[in-house]
Symmetry: C2
Subunit: 345 residues, 2 copies
């Protein structure tokens, strides 16, 4: 008999809060658990913590076992960190209990590339316990991988794929400004790359590997470069100031090569106020193939709102999927949840 | 153990020929059967019939049973007609033998809307015999449905969907000119609509229903309109001549409504040489939602090449799919076949 889907959350930062609000509006879904780090919202009502006007009746807990055993979620939306190595212990806690997991950890979109052993272990654990685990998000997860894969579906042959995601970092706060090097001098930018404080985008090897595996390309090298975007104009946001000649952001590019030839080239220059230097934001995909495809999404799909949406929207798909570690390329096309959805429908 | 996929063809018209050429280039696939109507290529070598330079060693047969029993295909690419009622007897012949079917019959992309009983019967027969049947193509099948569904996947909410596919009919022959009313006077166009000789696009109710079912919208009415595109300029192709004031094609529009409000509006104006009247060809999707999406593919994905590609590319996905009548929204995202693919991989 159809019944409500019981949804839990692990990690109630900006993304987690957005997901709580999104799921709270979906008929047929019931929020039952929320896990937070000790001392970060423990004991608070989840609705209030997520910025909803009323209590939700779900208490944020740092005691993982208690939150899960009391709430009994069918699926947990997981938003705590970016790297497989960091999220692995959390995801195993969920899988051991047979709980499905949707994680927005960037590396979870294709964990086989950086952590093949942990990925295989997650796959086995998920299968043993009848649960599915999926990594998703806007990027990685959709714009520079799933959408590209779907477009190759109308090609008889593909010679090369090029895509770019050009966005505006203006809405973001000091952490993002720092990791993208916004407001640094070119020299500071170079030092930041060296000491790891400037990282650019997390997800290129995952997106390239996801595309390559889906279409059957054997990529033998992934090459990345991070360059400072030197501003020609004065740019200012609440959290950054960039004089002409200083760094407005990080031009991060990655190529998937076979025998030295680039098959997949992905660009993701992230900066504040690109239009001041005459650069339009947008998502761009070009496939050199038969037929060629030339796609533009303008403005770009916003990363935050979109990541919240796709994580929530994949809930019914993940619940229906066979057990194991899944990627976006293994599952039915994503789709919005605009009607009543219940387990068993 | 991985082995070659055995592929058959039913219908060797322009689309069928293109699919034969496409599959012949895919390593891991072997062409084993070809079914033609009696007197239309019977006895010919399939490679020659499809325009390949060499014999393929596969003889076109009108005897369906013999073609299938001798060739033993795992999957048949089916391209004989547009309507479920026409293709139903052919598809049942295949399903009864446990053969998977990929059909480009427009109505097969969502047969439940016009032929619910035949659709249910195909679903049952497929399940009984462990086979999968899928309807696909560029439109219906991708641009105005699957691609739209995938894009809603990044939306927390959707208020309205509008999409347009603006193409150029110039490459097509006299049959298409006639069914789209190219070269008629406005009066002849009206008579053509009335007597059914001018039909416009086949597939709108299917695309709208596929989207609505995927996202959970309950559409209570589908409204279609077909209007003449009156040319302002002189337009000429090898198969049509249009004076100013005459009809350059058919502006076919469909709306999916709920309580009188249009939730989905799809436009597909088909004409020759639209640029002469200042109209760019392209595929356009606009989603009014959170976030909004504004997508452009320019030029439009070509219908012929693209339909051939997506039908061939869905072969591995369909072979791996659970038995039954599937739609593009039920299956993993389409993707090009660019590597070796073998059954059992």
């Amino acid at each position: 008999m159809p019944r409500e889907i019981r949804v839990g959350f692990w990690g109630i930062g900006a993304m987690g809060k957005g997901m709580v609000r999104c799921v709270s509006r979906k008929p047929g879904m019931r929020i039952v658990s929320a896990i937070v780090p000790a001392g970060h919202g423990e004991g608070a009502d989840l609705g209030r913590l997520a910025g909803l006007p009323e209590d939700m009746g779900v208490t944020c807990m740092a005691d993982v076992g208690r939150a899960l055993d009391e709430g009994k979620p069918d699926v947990v939306l997981h938003a705590t960190a970016s790297f497989v190595r960091e999220v692995y212990p959390q995801i195993t806690e969920l899988l051991k209990r047979g709980i499905n997991v949707i994680s927005i950890a960037e590396e979870m979109s294709f964990p086989y590339i950086r952590e093949p052993e942990l990925a295989r272990s997650l796959d086995e654990l998920a299968k043993q316990n009848g649960a599915t685990v999926l990594g998703t998000g806007i990027n990685p997860g959709f714009v520079l991988d799933t959408l590209i894969i779907a477009l190759t579906g109308i090609c008889q042959d593909v010679r090369m794929i090029k895509a770019a995601r050009i966005n505006d970092l203006s809405p973001f706060g000091p952490t993002v400004m720092k990791t993208q090097g916004v407001g640094t001098t070119p020299e500071e930018f170079e030092r930041g790359l060296e000491d790891g404080s400037i990282v650019g985008h997390v997800g290129f090897p995952e997106s390239i590997s996801l595309i390559a595996r889906a279409v059957g390309w054997e990529i033998d090298e992934i090459r990345q470069s991070r360059e400072p975007i030197i501003s020609k104009t004065y740019r200012e946001t609440p959290h950054a100031r960039v004089e002409p000649g200083m760094v407005a952001g990080c031009r991060h590019t990655a190529m998937g090569l076979k025998k030295g030839e680039p098959l997949i080239t992905l660009e993701h220059p992230q900066q504040i106020l690109p239009h001041l230097d005459g650069v339009d934001t947008g998502d761009y995909i070009q496939i050199e193939g038969t037929p060629p495809v030339n796609l533009t999404i303008k403005p770009e799909i916003p990363g935050g709102t979109g990541t919240v949406a796709i994580a929530c929207n994949m809930i019914p798909v993940v619940i229906d999927a066979p057990p194991g570690l899944a990627t976006m390329a293994d599952l039915p096309v994503p789709r919005a949840i605009l009607g009543q959805w219940r387990k068993g429908d």
